[in-house]
Structures are given as structure tokens and as C-alpha cells.
Amino acid sequence: MKRAITIILTLCMVIMMLSGCGGGNAGNVIKIGVYEPSSGDNGAGGKQEVLGIEYANSVLNSVEIGGKKYELKLEIVDNESSNDKGPSAAAKLVSAKCSIVLGSYGSGVSIAASDVFGNAGIPVIGVSCTNPQVTEGNTHYFRICYLDPFQGTVLANFAVDEFKAKKAYILTKLGDDYSVGLGNYFKVAFESLGGTVVEETFQEGNSDFTAYLTTAVNEKADVIFAPTSTEAASLIIGQAVSQGIKIPFLAGDTWDSSVILDAAKGSDSKIFVSTFFDEGDDSAAGSKFVTDFKKWLNDNPEKLKNNGGNDIVAAVSALGYDAYMVAVKAIEAAGSPDPKKINEVLWGVTYSGVTGDIAFDDIGDAIRDVAYIKSANNSDGSWNFVAIQSVK
């Protein structure tokens, strides 16, 4: 009996192995890979970015190349926000023969998987990975958002202009390229504006931030700069509220999330974030996107749940939408689903998206010079638009 089971199991495995070898592009389908976290630290943000991409796919799901109509299909994998799980998720996209890949939320996972895509010759468009290292020194990684040196400088300027800050407390997460990188650029900019900084780091899995916040108070910091994942952010805000800390918080694009609004609701904490897009954008493209996207969310309860249960439009969703549209433009321009051809033409692709005009420079970064600053409205749990900031 036992032996029979052994034989059957072995047969199953062989069949699975053989079936695994098949697959690929069948018929007139072009696959667009989506390399995003839907679990782990950055899961909440990653899901919102995927929503933008899915919405874009529902708006435009076919492309005509050389008189032939191709269906555009999304191939979504979860990189679990983890640098060691990322590459194998990326390998899955490569083996699914994607023509182009979008992603990821979080710079670390993007850097970690970069070579997997690079070796396979597949171009990638980074959606909200802001660390310079993502695109530096390679020819296949592009990005449509602004960069951390820019964002860090913007926030440092804002801290000095708005709060007359002399001393900043910077809290970053160890081993997170986004967090460490942005913290570093903020520090450089803030020090060059004449301020001083106190830096501390926390380990993955840490949930006790009271000691860190106490240090910030004892050091008499004027602002707390905490470019962290939303998961850590809600802990930080919660503990700051219960400790009665009145120092304003500054953070980067990750904090532009309803998770933050929920954590801050009803408290008197002051939270400012820089981001890519504002819901109240009154440009024609922007307001149309916001209305249509909200409608789409409200029509699909499952999607609404992924957005955190409300229809607040996250900046990353808008960016996801734009990234998808840029990818489609590139496929059209290349006139072929061949990743190498798409990679070649991507350098010249331009597109007017909901987050502004997108064109790539010679590193592969979108040329962007504005960031939106928003503040959390603690009474009704929404974002207040503060300013459009650019570097002086």
C-alpha cells in the first residue's frame, strides 16, 4: 500500500514537472508583469498600486500592432515586501514570458530583483521606488516617480520653511533601502540648510517605539522625520499620541496612505507627507481619473477592500495608472511584444499622465520637479492639501 502511494506520488510529481515546462504566450496576448507586494510591511501600499494598474487595464486592455489586435493581460505576483522572496517572484514573471514589468512599491525589492529582469532582457518601469540605486548603472530599469534626493531636499526645505526647524530626529528602518536612503538624503539637505540631526534606526519586527520617541523629546527635536513603512508608521503615531508628543511628523510618499489617517484620526498629532499626486488635483486629466477611479472602486467591493475600505485615491494608484499607460505606449511604439525592442524604444517614450508629463532622462528616471505636500486632517480622516513644493 505504502509503496503504491510512493509510486503514485512520484508519477504526480513527474507530471507536474512536465506541465510546468509548458505555457508561455498563447495567441494574441501580451503579458504585462506586475511585481508588487501584497503582503508584508508594504502590502497595503502595494495593493493600492496594483489597483491603479488594474484600473488602467480595465480602461485599456488591448493594443493594435501592425494591424493585429493583441489582448493585454496582467500577470501579478506578490514579492511579499521582502528582498529575499522578491527574486523568486521575479523569476516567475520571467518564466511567464512577460513583455514588460511594472513595479515595485518599495525600493529594496526593486533593487533585489533588478538583475533577474536584467538578465532576461525584460524592461521594468518602477512605479514608486524612489531610491536612486534602482535605475543607476543599468539600462532596463526605468521609473516614473521622483527620486529620494529630490524628495529629501523638498522635505528638508519644508521643515525649515514651515517649522523653522533647527533640529530634526530621523528614524529609519534597518535594512530598508527606501527608509535608509531617504533618511540619508534628508539629513544631507537638512544639514546643508544649517540644521542638526539625531539619527536612530529600528530593527525589523520592532513594535516598541516609545523609547525612540522619548529620545526625540529629550533631544528637543523640532521635527520627527520617519520615512518608514505604513505598518511601522501606525505604531509610531499611536505611541506618540499616547505619550502626548506634540512634535510634528514629516514623512515621504509611503505615509500617503489611509492607514496613517486611521491612526491619526481624533488625535492632535501633526503629520505632513510629500507625495506624487493630490486627490484634489484640478487638472482635467487628474480630476477625470479621480472620479472614474472612485466609481470603479465603489463598483467592485473586493477592490474597495484592497484600497483599505474607503475610496480615498492614493498617489501610488495614480502612479500605477500612469506606469501602465507608459508601458502600453512603449509596446505600441515598439510595434512588437518583444521585450528587447520595448526596452529600446522606452527611452524615447513621452506621455502626459494624471501625475504630470513623463519623459525619461538618460538614466531612465522620469524628469520631475514638483512634489505635493499634504497634511493629515485628524477630524474627518482625510488629507489636506498644503503646498506644491519644488527645490529652490
Binding site: 510529481m13 528582498n83 527574486p87 516567475k92 514570458k97 535594512g175
Partner: protein, 382 residues
């Protein structure tokens, strides 16, 4: 020196030992020539597959990672299975190996970009890849030797928890800002040379596992097993407990270090944060599934483990429709649930794992098939 010659069982003096070691190598080769032919055939098949299939196939991902995990699992088995030392520090030693390899092989021109927050780091030379691999092993072994001095005196679970603690300390240490010019702080290390052919990890792991097998079959290996079976009796028989435990621990860590370096090459980036205790648990489960005390079992189970988790069970993670019917339960993360249930079943009901303490050898395979077919034909007759 003298002490050795008076040992009750007449422990062999070093020159003899070498001689016997050499003889055992020759004997081993002669006895297992069919096995070696099969191994050669395996390598040839992989080579041909690589030419035929597209290089992006998941098969190669599984083969590469499986080969690396096989080495790490065998090295852990040497400790847990053959010497009876329950150590949970494997991830820490892999981390040391991976970092040593990465630090010394990042090309000089890439250093400014990699060590961007630390002005290009302070190490400005590179060593060739094979030497870096050996250095990775040596660094891990050296550290293991130092850790072993205090820790190996502890008994079973205390040893486990102390080694686990050391692995965590190593992880924190490598993320330390002040070491940034060497380790790049907590940031990724990348741009070091990697392998593209699947054969590479197979050859390196193969050589390493072969050395471990030779060690296990030598008089040292017999001493290890004696310690595992009964420490007190082994000591009474004249085995130097401390020395043998230390040897097993250091050798195991050496190969864990090499495995870590290979893993770094496979992943193309290294970061200390990835080497959590969860990684050690994963390797431990591989060892258990393969059979504690079986080298071939560990190899087999690491390929099965990696293939299931990376490839075969992936379909459980995506929502699937048959027609318009949505299959229940399938959602992100379901793969891991199924996987851990399988593991629990193995642990509870097949606690000997796939192989127990047996090894796959050509003879055993032949015997197995003979028995299988005899039984089948009997069944048909009845």
C-alpha cells in the same frame, strides 16, 4: 602525543590516519563507480537541458536553489544528524559566508555605487571567485570555532537556543552603522560576480557534499556517530568529546558559509536582514523531511522542498476559475498553509523522514526495484 598511543582502543596516529583516509577514498571510488557514472550522467542531462530549454524556465531556478540548499542542509545534517548537536545557528554562518564573498568580490569600479553612503567603502581590492568562496567558508569556520569554545559545552536545547542567539547577534552586528565601510551597513550588497549556468552550483555543492561524505565515512565520522548515540560511552571509549564536537561544528559552519556565498550568487544581492531564524527553521525542516542522518535524504528533500515551495504549489496562491466557478480557499498565502500542513504530517507521522538514516545507493535502488516488481507480479498472480 603520548596520550594518543595509550588510548584503549589504540587510536591511530596521524600518518596512519592519512593513509587510511587515502585508501578509503580509493575504496569509496571503486565501490561506487556506478553511482559516479550516474552523477556524471546527471550533470550531462542538466547541461543538455540548459541548451534545450529557455533559460527562464522555473526548472533552473529550482535546480540552482535546490543545489545550494542541499549543501546547507547536508552541512546542518552533519551537526544535527551525525554528531547529535542540535544547533540552530546555520543562518548566521550563511550570513557570514555570503557577506565575506560579496565584500571581497564587488569590482572596484562598482564600489562607489554600492557603498554610496560610505564613500565607496574601505576595501579596495577584489579576489577571484573561487578564492572568495573558500574565504567565505573560512570566515564562517573561524567564527564557528570561536563561538564553539563556550557554547559547545551546553546540552541539547540550551545549545540550540544559544546558537540561535548567536545567529541573531551576528545579524545585528552586520547591520551596524559603524561597520558600514565594510558591510555597507544594513543596505544591500550587489554587483558582485554571479553564476549563470545551473552547473556551477551543482559542481560546487557536489564537491562540498563529497568532502562531507568522506568525512562522515572516516574515523572522525565514526567518532561523531558514537557521540550522537551515547556521549558518555563515547567518552569512555577514548573519544575526545570537546575536540570532535568542535571539529564537527567548525566543518559544518565552513560549508554553511560556502552555501551562503552560493546563495548570495544566486540571489545577486545580499542583505543581512534576510538571514533570519526562519531561514534556519526552513533548513532544519528540510533535514527532517529528508531524514536526520541521511546525506542523500537531505539532498533529495531540499530539491523537493524548493520545487514545492517555489514552483509546484504556486498555483495555490492564485485565484483560479474553472469556467465561472471560483475554486474556494485559493488565495495568496494558501500555498504556505498547505506546505506547513504537509510538513506537520511528515514530522508527526513519518518522523524518520524520506530516508530515515539510510542512504540512496545503487545497490539499494536495484534492491528496491527488484522487490517492487516482485511484489507487483505477486499481486497480479493473486
Amino acid at each position: 602525543m603520548n596520550e594518543k598511543n595509550i588510548n584503549i582502543n589504540g587510536e591511530i596516529t596521524p600518518p596512519d590516519k592519512k593513509n587510511i583516509f587515502f585508501k578509503s577514498v580509493v575504496g569509496f571510488l571503486r565501490k561506487n563507480w556506478i553511482g559516479f557514472t550516474l552523477l556524471a550522467a546527471l550533470f550531462a542531462i542538466i547541461f543538455i537541458l540548459e541548451q534545450v530549454l529557455s533559460s527562464s524556465s522555473m526548472l533552473f531556478v529550482v535546480l540552482k536553489k535546490g543545489a545550494i540548499y542541499a549543501l546547507v542542509a547536508v552541512s546542518m545534517n552533519l551537526l544535527n544528524g551525525f554528531t547529535g548537536l542540535f544547533s540552530l545557528g546555520q543562518a548566521g554562518f550563511m550570513l557570514i559566508g555570503a557577506y565575506t564573498y560579496a565584500i571581497f568580490t564587488i569590482p572596484a569600479e562598482a564600489r562607489t555605487a554600492v557603498y554610496q553612503y560610505f564613500d565607496g567603502g574601505i576595501i579596495n581590492f577584489t579576489v577571484p571567485v573561487p578564492i572568495a568562496l573558500i574565504m567565505a567558508g573560512l570566515a564562517a569556520a573561524l567564527f564557528a570555532y570561536l563561538v564553539g569554545l563556550p557554547v559547545l559545552r551546553l546540552k541539547s536545547d540550551y545549545l540550540a537556543i544559544a546558537t540561535l542567539g548567536f545567529a541573531e547577534i551576528i545579524r545585528a552586528f552586520f547591520q551596524w552603522d559603524k561597520l558600514g565601510p565594510v558591510t555597507n551597513g544594513s543596505n544591500l550588497l550587489r554587483r558582485f560576480p554571479v553564476f549563470s549556468s545551473t552547473l556551477y552550483p551543482f559542481i560546487v555543492s557536489g564537491i562540498c557534499i563529497a568532502i562531507i561524505v568522506l568525512l562522515i565515512n572516516s574515523s572522525y565520522g565514526r567518532a561523531f556517530k558514537a557521540i550522537r548515540d551515547d556521549e558518555v560511552a563515547a567518552e569512555a571509549m577514548g573519544i575526545n568529546l570537546a575536540r570532535h564536537k568542535q571539529l564537527s561544528f567548525t566543518v559544518s559552519s565552513f560549508f554553511a558559509g560556502v552555501g551562503g556565498a552560493l546563495l548570495a550568487m544566486y540571489q545577486t544581492t545580499v542583505q543581512a536582514a534576510a538571514f533570519k531564524s526562519a531561514m534556519t527553521y526552513e533548513i532544519l525542516l528540510i533535514v527532517v523531511i529528508g531524514g536526520i542522518g541521511s546525506v542523500t535524504g537531505s539532498c533529495l528533500s531540499s530539491f523537493l522542498f524548493i520545487a514545492s515551495s517555489e514552483w509546484w504549489l504556486r498555483f495555490l496562491d492564485s485565484e483560479t476559475y474553472i469556467g465561472s466557478f471560483k475554486l474556494p480557499l485559493l488565495a495568496s498565502g494558501f500555498r504556505k498553509v498547505v506546505f506547513s500542513i504537509i510538513i506537520m504530517v511528515v514530522v508527526l507521522f513519518y518522523s524518520r523522514g524520506i530516508m530515515g538514516t539510510n542512504e540512496i545507493s545503487v545497490d539499494a535502488l536495484l534492491r528496491f526495484f527488484r522487490k517492487l516488481f516482485r511484489k507487483d507480479s505477486k499481486g497480479e498472480a493473486a
